[in-house]
Amino acid sequence: MRGGLWQLGQSITRRLAHGDKKAVARRCFASEAELKKTVFHDFHVAHGGKMVPFAGWSMPIQYKDSIMDSTINCRENGSLFDVSHMCGLSLKGKDAAPFLEKLVIADVAGLAPGTGTLTVFTNEKGGAIDDSVITKVTDDHIYLVVNAGCRDKDLAHIEEHMKAFKAKGGDVSWHIHDERSLLALQGPLAAPVLQHLTKEDLSKLYFGEFRVLDINGSECFLTRTGYTGEDGFEISVPSEHGVDLAKAILEKSEGKVRLTGLGARDSLRLEAGLCLYGNDMEQHITPIEAGLTWAIGKRRRAEGGFLGADVILKQLEEGPKIRRVGFFSSGPPPRSHSEIQDEGGNNIGEITSGGFSPCLQKNIAMGYVKSGLHKAATKVKIIIRGKPNEGVVTKMPFVPTKYYKPS
């Protein structure tokens, strides 16, 4: 899904693999000096936020609460995240939906106004360029948010295809919402707290739905969605009102909703079984392999029409060769790139994300294994620092999701 700790994941991997540690630290320092700051930066630091480089931004990985406590508190009460490093944009024009359908696997035309869905931008080989949540505001306006680490390539990709599309007479234009900032309010208290700050009845806004409305005195784009598995919202707020809104949310929750950093966010999305682009999804992984077949609209399965459709539709028909699955394991927590073996010691895949689950108090991981070895309860070995550890394939999510849906 969206957001994620791409750079942290990579930096941890590099830390373990890199020989010249001094050089790594120096590069880290240099990049820190050039990092972009969200409008919340000073607010984070004032609240004890520990800032680290992430996708070219200075972002809070943690506040005073431990990552363990923050993760658990999100599921028990709520969390407020700054996700302004992610890129929001609007596509407008009579042909906005047909244009976007060339680039993503979703049935954009079939979305009702005010609703959205997870989708994947594909390349010519059917691999994932990025994942994104897209929302149809009106028939000629689509709002979407892409991952921070993919912003430059996504925008270049969209621009290239938009030029070609317009040259053939297509009616589409775009606006990048750099004047806005993005907050994610997640957890069981998200809706009650946010309701205090807006007159509109949020009980009538369901998972995946979108509204433009006044929140705490400013016009916000509100999507009921998230990257934690919890009920909650992503709020696009005019940047000049961002800090006021963050303060208001924290005040209304009387300290129960806590500022939460990217470290806990990564634990939460992993517990929810959600992909992190750069770890669990990459240019060479198709949506089918990633377990996102459900995100390909029914009409799109019949018609194709998106980049890499031939590869993807063939995989739909024949089945993919590898599949993303979840694991429980004993011993050290698995991390990205740990080898997966069958019980006979043969390589069958690789871990793409893993760690210790604060909610379950046990190791969880996801990764890719050869098709045929992907069934729940299949026993595996996960190789960590050269030693095999017992693992077992499991369905995801690890922690049940609590999306707000009509009953």
Partner: protein, 179 residues
């Protein structure tokens, strides 16, 4: 005879000071590279860390308590504070050889993995099995119940390469201010 004796003592002292300077230089370089490594997983600092006076400290944030040839080793309060909640400790086997500055195990937190380096050389004679079921002892009691290994020391002279509690406190302050 007396004059000659005094002279040889003087020469010996000079050589000892030279060796100490060399060790200090080497240690400083070692500290720099390990501090750089450690900085990468530093996520949060409480603001102060506890140190214990009678221990010796390594630049990679382990402590050692020495009683003749026997040493008890763990990671410091500063280290556990930076790591966050410890969820797993990889322990060596009894009988394993350890060398000063060399890795003998690993400690895992929710988000990161860190090597544990031995502050002394020798042989592992005991490991803290309680850490298998209660790795959080390292967080709650880094200098006592959270000890990691006991080592039969092979070279007591190596202790001169380590910091005392005051030096270590200063080292941590400098490290945190740089980060």
């Amino acid at each position: 005879m007396d004059a000659q004796h005094d002279h040889s003592i003087s020469v010996e002292r000079e050589r000892e000071r030279e060796r100490e300077r060399e060790r200090e230089m080497a240690c400083r370089q070692l500290w720099a590279s390990r501090a750089a490594s450690y900085l990468r997983i530093s996520v949060f600092h409480r603001g102060f860390s506890n140190v214990v006076k009678d221990l010796k400290y390594a630049d990679s944030h382990e402590w050692v308590k020495v009683d003749e040839n026997s040493a008890t080793v763990g990671i410091t309060d500063h280290a556990q504070d930076h790591l966050g909640d410890v969820v797993y400790v990889e322990l060596p086997e009894v009988g394993a050889a350890v060398t000063q500055g060399g890795s003998f195990g690993a400690v895992e937190s929710v988000k990161a993995t860190s090597d544990i380096n031995s502050p002394v050389s020798g042989k592992v004679v005991e490991v803290n099995e309680a850490l298998n079921s209660s790795p959080a002892l390292i967080n709650s009691s880094p200098y006592k119940d959270g000890w990691i290994i006991k080592v039969e020391i092979s070279d007591n002279g190596e202790l001169n390469n380590l910091m005392d509690s005051d030096q270590y406190s200063k080292f941590c302050e400098e490290e945190d201010s740089k980060h």
